[in-house]
């Protein structure tokens, strides 16, 4: 009997409370596999669609709710509410061992669990663990048989035959390998509810099945069907990378996949390009050319820097070399669960609290036990800012640790676990038992440019030019620049700013990143792993900006904070090369979770052969100088203006919002205007 989404959720809600999420979730996943509805969209070639995506996520949200009470017990709520920090579970940023998965297939994963089970017959506890997994797999095969029947009844013989083979054997052809990607993705994402945030390095995992460019239709169908999956913040895959000896891994399939990706009009899949100094220039230029033609959804990452950052956090060099990008830009080693979006810290808020004696400037509420002082020197103020910032990090981590300590009662991952050899050996669930090789957590600090520009403005106004006292400046900020609009604009538009390659300004970005790393990097978490640092904001800059008082960089109260690790929009007056040089002031080897430059380039500035050559040079130079990741928005002001006026005429116009792509037409008017303003500078 099949059930609709509400019925599925209703049926599982009865067993929300549990002391053993592993056992409960094995049962839940099996239940969903047996009772979900299956649809076969006429355009699908590889796999079916199911209706249970989100059920298990709803269940763990219900399970985690009582634990949020711990935040109040530990005095963390006021800081969360004022937008200084947050923390929570993150079950949403995972990869899997894609290379093994495609070699084994779903059937091979099952057989491997079976072997483990047979080897541990003498140990009832272990036996129970594997038996639970095997019962999930029995349900998987029942589900796959149902899927095959549905496919056949809809005339999809190729799909049905492939599924039936994969119930009893590993993939033999490119088609079956692609089907395996869809099946595994559906199992982990839709049934288990641990969102899978990358399809891995497809040019490596699919290469054994590649026979040549005559498979173009197959690849285009594959990417088109992937594009139909409704993934949050897009569905990424990666190309390139290097092996542990630093040898470049670009192959014929890398070029072919990039060509197919460029050719198709996709909205939901995005691409991570893993570049090293040995990556062929031609390949990188093909990708840049694709960006120029409007494929704004490609992120370029530096292999050398990413691997260095992962080794620095303690990953085995072999695991580091096989890293994954599990979301927008955050990198994790193979076998690592990074929980890349678990804690967040608002850097400008730290400065606000430092200036105002630990109290929120908007509400006056005391958040931290600091006394308000008139700092005699800029360095006194800066030291206080760092103390506050590091305290916010500790609180953000604590907020997360309190939740993560209870994974056992919140969420388990039988599918994800079955594909993870380390967890199988440990005989534990990746989440509920912290059984991955690396069970880490990540803190993202954001609003970096807002904070740097504010510090530089305060130094100039109060301690260099003596334009006003610090108390007077704080009063101006508290009043949100009331009656001081021209003063605000002067600071906003004419003061030195991060993003212009000015070392006297950029040095603060480096120092802040160092202070954050000191407080976060390598600190033990609640799962036997460590904390990692990232410097990206994605769209949190809107939400947290709304709770942040006016800042000394000329930002009004409530306005968004700066994006990711780059300059405040409009402040990078010296252009892209200077902007990238500024971002390189940050030691990105301390940020495995990402240091990202967003470059807005006007279409005319990268036109022609010389434009491409120059774009390539910016990327190469940025990586040589220690850059971590960059993504480009090539914007044409006139096109954006026309699309703002008449959205219906530009239904497919895409822009990169922060870590993912969106259709321009779906943005708010405020966001549209921001993009238009960004495209006009220079």
């Amino acid at each position: 009997m099949t059930l609709n989404y509400e019925q599925l959720l209703e049926a599982l809600k009865d067993c929300v409370e549990t002391e053993d999420a592993y056992r409960a979730d094995c049962e839940n996943v099996a239940f969903l596999l047996d009772h979900c509805e299956i649809a076969v969209p006429s355009e699908n070639r590889f796999f079916v669609q199911v209706n249970c995506g989100g059920v298990q996520r709803e269940i763990y949200r219900l399970r985690e709710a009582p634990f949020k009470g711990l935040w109040a017990d530990h005095g963390l709520l006021d800081g969360i509410r004022c937008g200084a920090y947050t923390g929570n579970h993150d079950f949403g940023h995972t990869s899997t061992c894609w290379d093994q998965l495609l070699t084994f297939g779903i059937y091979g994963l099952y057989k491997r669990v079976e072997e483990f089970s047979e080897e541990t017959r003498q140990d009832p506890r272990k036996q129970e663990f594997y038996e639970n997994l095997l019962s999930v797999y029995q349900a998987v095969f029942r589900f796959l048989r149902r899927a095959a029947e549905c496919a056949r009844s809809c005339g999809k013989t190729e799909m049905a035959d492939g599924i039936l083979h994969l119930i009893s054997g590993s993939p033999r052809t490119m088609f079956e390998a692609m089907q395996t990607v869809f099946i595994y993705y559906t199992l982990q994402q839709m049934f288990e509810g641990s969102p899978l945030r990358t399809l891995g390095r497809l040019d490596g995992t699919l290469f054994p099945y590649y026979v040549g460019r005559e498979q173009e239709d197959l690849f285009c169908d594959f990417l088109t069907e992937l594009d139909q999956i409704k993934a949050d913040a897009n569905l990424p895959f990666a190309l390139g990378g290097t092996d542990a000896e630093g040898k470049d891994l670009i192959n014929e399939l890398s070029y072919f996949l990039l060509d197919c990706y460029t050719k198709l009009s996709t909205k939901n899949i995005k691409l991570h390009l893993l570049c090293s100094k040995n990556t062929p220039k031609e390949f990188v230029c093909n990708a840049l050319d694709s960006v120029r033609e409007g494929k704004n959804s490609i992120v370029f990452l530096s292999d050398e820097k990413v691997i260095e950052s992962l080794i620095r956090q303690g990953a085995d060099p072999l695991d580091a070399a096989k890293y994954h990008v599990v979301g927008c830009y955050e990198c994790c080693a193979d076998q690592e669960v990074p929980c890349s979006c678990s804690a967040r810290v608002n850097i400008p808020k730290a400065l606000e609290l430092a200036l105002n004696g630990g109290a929120d400037l908007r509400t006056g509420k005391q958040i931290l036990p600091f006394e308000r002082t008139e700092f005699k020197s800029f360095s006194d103020l800066y030291d206080r800012f760092v103390s506050v910032l590091q305290e916010l990090c500790r609180r953000g981590m604590k907020t997360t640790d309190l939740m993560e300590a209870h994974y056992k009662q919140v969420h388990a991952s039988p599918i994800y676990t079955s594909a993870n050899i380390h967890a199988l050996r440990k005989c534990g669930d990746v989440y509920a038992d912290f059984a991955a090789k690396y069970n880490n957590s990540s803190l993202n600090a954001f609003g970096l440019a807002t904070a740097v520009d504010s510090l530089v403005a305060i130094r100039k106004l109060v301690y260099e030019d003596h334009t006003m006292t610090l108390t007077e400046l704080i009063d101006v900020l508290r009043s949100d620049w009331e009656g001081r609009e021209s003063f605000r604009l002067l600071i906003r538009n004419r003061f030195p700013k991060y993003g212009n390659g000015d070392p006297s300004v950029d040095v603060f970005a480096g120092r802040i990143a160092d202070a954050l790393y000191e407080a976060v990097g390598g600190v033990p978490n609640a799962k036997g792993g460590i904390w990692r640092l990232g410097l990206f904001s994605i769209n949190w800059r809107w939400e947290f900006g709304a709770k942040t008082a006016a800042s000394a960089d000329g930002r009004r109260c409530g306005e968004p904070l700066s994006q990711n690790s780059g300059a405040t929009f409009g402040s990078d007056r010296e252009g892209a090369t200077a902007h990238l040089s500024s971002v390189c002031a940050i030691d990105a080897s301390k940020t495995p979770n990402g240091t990202i430059a967003d470059l807005d380039l006007h279409a005319s500035s990268v036109k022609g052969e010389n434009g491409l050559k120059t774009m390539y040079a910016t990327l190469k130079t940025y990586f040589e100088k220690g850059g971590f990741a960059v993504h480009y928005n090539v914007l044409d002001t006139e096109v954006l203006k026309a699309a703002r006026k008449d959205p219906s005429a530009y239904p497919n116009l895409q822009v990169r919002l922060c870590g993912w792509n969106v259709l321009f037409a779906t943005l708010s008017d405020q966001e549209k205007d921001e993009f238009i303003a960004r495209s006009m500078k220079g």
Partner: protein
């Protein structure tokens, strides 16, 4: 040694090979009707006032000078003509050195007419060359032979404007005769310099010159490229802000116009390219 500079633009792709930083010198001996850089015409500092940006804050006290421009919160005033010494300017222009190296780029001296401030331009080019940076010189050619001779050793390529061959047309369009310009071009060619010709095509003004330009250039060696540039009258707001009479012709050069000129120049065996496609 000091020079007057109207602006610096980094990551410029239209002024020669690779990623370049272009420095705009103040002052020009010509008065081309279609000049796009009116702020660079005079060899004196000027403050432009963009009234549409002004918020009436009064911080400038009605002044129009370097200080008031720096104090304007919305950049409604822009000061053109800052004084630089050659060392500091060379340092400033070298900031993108790594990007130059990776793209085959460098610095382009432009303007105005960079060689009008001859000693300063030569010194700047020498300092840049000493740093191993490629130097391109964008010139109208209406300059002293001595200055040209002195800058040749530090110049990797000349970007050389040819607007007309007919002296009367040239005088009408630029206010000056073109004898010196053509002689200087011949001289650079004889010296074995790498020269890229730029022909700004303004329909109704110098489009009739194409055949003559082809015939003239055919006899010269060292011409690596002839770029036919599209004209568009987009600098009106700057003329207004500078309080200068806008002389820009109200005409548009189309893609087809440029293509036609390119094919004429090609018929003379010249390496002509369409600037719209290249830029």
């Amino acid at each position: 040694m000091k020079g007057l500079i109207s602006g610096i633009k980094r990551m410029e792709i239209h002024d020669g090979d690779g990623c370049r930083t272009t420095v705009f010198f103040k002052g020009c001996p010509l008065r081309c009707l279609w000049c796009h850089n009116p702020e660079s015409l005079f060899l004196v500092p000027q403050t432009a006032f963009f009234s549409d940006k002004c918020i009436g804050c009064g911080l400038c006290n009605g002044n129009r000078n370097e200080q008031s421009a720096d104090a304007c919160p919305v950049c409604a005033q822009v000061y053109y003509g800052r004084e630089w010494d050659a060392e500091s300017l060379a340092e400033e222009l070298s900031r993108d050195e790594d990007y130059f190296r990776n793209s085959g780029g460098g610095v382009t001296l432009s303007g105005g007419e960079c060689l009008l401030q001859g000693n300063f331009a030569v010194e700047l080019a020498r300092l840049l060359k000493k740093r191993g940076i490629s130097v391109f010189v964008d010139t109208c050619g209406y300059v002293k032979r001595g200055v040209l001779e002195r800058i040749i050793p530090y110049t990797d390529r000349f970007l050389y404007d040819i607007k007309a061959i007919d002296p009367a047309v040239h005088r009408y369009c630029t206010g000056k005769e073109n004898g010196l310009i053509l002689e200087n071009l011949r001289f650079l060619s004889e010296q074995g310099c790498d020269v890229e010709i730029r022909y700004p095509l303004v329909i109704g003004y110098n489009d009739g010159e194409c055949e003559k330009i082809g015939a003239f250039l055919r006899g010269l060696k060292g011409i690596s490229k002839i770029k036919v540039l599209q004209y568009h009258p987009f600098a009106a707001s700057r003329y207004l802000a500078l309080g200068m009479k806008n002389t820009m012709p109200d005409t548009v050069t189309t893609f087809e116009d440029v293509e036609r000129s390119v094919s004429i120049l090609k018929s003379y065996g010249l390496p002509a390219v369409n600037g719209i496609l290249e830029d």
